[in-house]
Amino acid sequence: MTTREAIRKAMADSMREDKNVVLLGEDVGVYGGCFKVTEGLVKEFPDQVINTPVSEEGFTGLAVGAAMMGLRPIVEIMYADFFTLIFDPIVNHAAKVHFMSGGAFNCPIVVRLPEGSGTGHGAQHTQSPEALFMNSNGLKMVAPSCPSDAYHLLRAAIKDNNPVLFFEHKLLYGNEGEISEEELPIGKAKVIREGSDLTIVSYSHAVKTAIRTAETLDEQGIDSTVIDLCTLKPLDTETIFKSVRKTGRVVIIQDPAAFGGIASEVCSMIVTDKETFSSLKASPVICGGKNSPVPFSKDLETRVIPSVDECVKSALKLF
């Protein structure tokens, strides 16, 4: 099953179980969504799949109000780049209403945000905006890297009583994988492989880079652990700390711009934890994207994210 299908299945299973689960977004009906993720859903769930006008702020706000009444809306933002239009309903409202109402209201809304570069869509259609939500309280954020995680995290997100941002990388839609029996809860990182020399932390599309980096390092006799964060907020620091304490070396890889990214928070968590800090044998390394908008030109676009080569080189410097 592809990631695309896994996301679709998570929505279908949830909608089947619970009539309060509805999907709102542009062209999510007959068109099947811009990336064909919602293809066919409107047939089985004609009352639960709703095409919207180009009113991201409006329909997201509407979904927030409906969620406060008990609906469980999934909002699809066609390209994550239009996150700029939903900041107000999400950050000023969804994330705060539980707190600001003294716990009287919940806001169980999921926002799906197809993100990432590599598709030649230019600077306004290729952003990965997760870091831009990090400092907002009351939100959860997930960013799966494989079909199984996508399935389980979306299921968990829909069941969660809090607003959850679900970041799906466009380049991962076609990836194949089995859906595991085991659920993956929000808040848990996954150890993809265990090694004793180095911890590589990553998430979403960059997990591919992380794995290839580890494989390349194998050839050099360096044995790496690879951790997939899966959930970006709250971070599973325990899993990270445990591994870093063992290996004493860490490389954090992410596609979005390095400055102010998720990797910086992971890094800062690691070093501000006294015990983990003490275990470090070398300075932590962040391999992030270039601090620039995403260029259109194919060659330049490819190089805006960190390559396996770069990551391997950076890792080798730690030894």
């Binding site: 919207t52 706000g61 927030v64 109000g65 107000d88 539980h98 707190f99 109402s101 716990g103 209201f105």
Partner: protein, 323 residues
């Protein structure tokens, strides 16, 4: 109309007014933290609307929310408590003057971001429509908010999806210092309803009966499944925008003109003229309301130091598994 109705209308307006008077007093005495937005002069809008709603109809008020909160039926003690920041407040003291949600009386609470409560209100209506519940939701907003894109987007959505939502615009002629005639591209705001294929009317927002009648009609229209409705109520806030406003942007003449149109005095005169109430009855109501509100303020004050702990507060950042 029965006498009980007039009595209700009078009581709501008096309570709202007295709530604001007391609030101002408490602020001036330095007993309340932060700022507040008083709605003196707009009581007919609050009472007229709320009287036309059923207990199960929801409202989403604005930053200027006290009057609507009183009129929808919240306990003023809990409202004062909220402003004292105590755990007895409607939001356990975490909200403050602009955030007084009350699930019990179907009040979602306000957004302090002007115009951002409007899509939330449509969301309530969306919920009703999906679940075939024949209640309505009211998006309350000011003239200033009409310049927000969210209001446009929501009116379009409500129209194409025929949502049971009433757009209730309190045009008090100003958004802070900005006069609506300078900021709004059309003379009558309600004329914009045509862009959304919904009925739009403008009423005298200082006349509680006129507001009530218009809302009644709107509610009926909406409950018949015909879709959204737009009411513009022309009114005036007699106090400044908030605590610190020196009101340099409007003239003493204008203020005096509106002072004469005081919705409560005018309603009382009407009740007297029509022989529905005696002077004594009215005085008694005025007294009763004032005393009641003052007592509730005192009660709230007496518990003002009961405050959530830091742990309790942090536990409210995320909702738990089950509601």
């Amino acid at each position: 109309m029965e006498k009980a109705f007039y009595l209700d209308a009078l009581r709501l307006m008096l309570n709202s007014r007295n709530f604001e008077e007391k609030t101002e007093e408490l602020f001036k005495a330095g007993l309340i933290h932060g700022t507040t937005h008083l709605a003196n002069g707009q009581e007919a809008c609050q009472a007229g609307l709320c009287l036309a709603l059923s207990d199960k109809d929801w409202i989403v008020p604005t930053h200027r929310c006290h009057g609507f909160t009183v009129c929808k039926g919240s306990d003023p003690t809990a409202m004062f408590s909220e402003m004292f920041g105590s755990s007895h407040g409607l939001a356990k003291g975490l909200g403050g003057s602009m955030h007084m949600p009350d699930k019990e009386v179907c009040n979602l609470g306000s957004s302090a971001v002007v115009g951002s409560g409007v899509p939330l209100a449509a969301g309530i209506a969306f919920y009703f429509k999906r679940n075939k519940i024949n209640n309505i939701s009211v998006a309350i907003f000011g003239d200033g908010a009409t310049s927000r894109g969210s209001v446009h987007e929501t009116m379009n959505l409500a129209s194409i999806w025929k949502l049971p939502v009433l757009f209730f615009c309190e045009n008090n002629l100003y958004g802070m210092s900005a006069s609506s005639s300078d900021m709004i591209s059309i003379k009558k705001i309600s004329d914009r309803a045509a862009s959304y294929s919904m009925p739009g009317v403008t009423v005298d927002g200082n006349n509680v009966l006129e507001v009530y009648e218009a809302c009644k009609k709107a509610v009926q229209y909406i409950k018949e499944g015909k879709g959204p409705y737009f009411i513009e109520a022309l009114t005036y806030r007699t106090k400044g925008h908030s605590k610190s406003d020196r009101r340099l942007y409007r003239s003493a003449e204008e203020e005096a003109f509106w002072e004469k149109k005081d919705p409560i005095k005018n309603f009382e005169n009407y009740l007297l003229e029509e022989g529905l109430f005696t002077e004594e009855e009215i005085e008694e109501e005025e007294e009763r309301s004032k005393t009641g509100i003052n007592l509730m303020a005192e009660k709230a004050l007496s518990m003002a130091s009961d405050c959530l702990t830091e742990e309790e507060t942090m536990a409210l950042v995320y909702a738990g598994e089950e509601k």
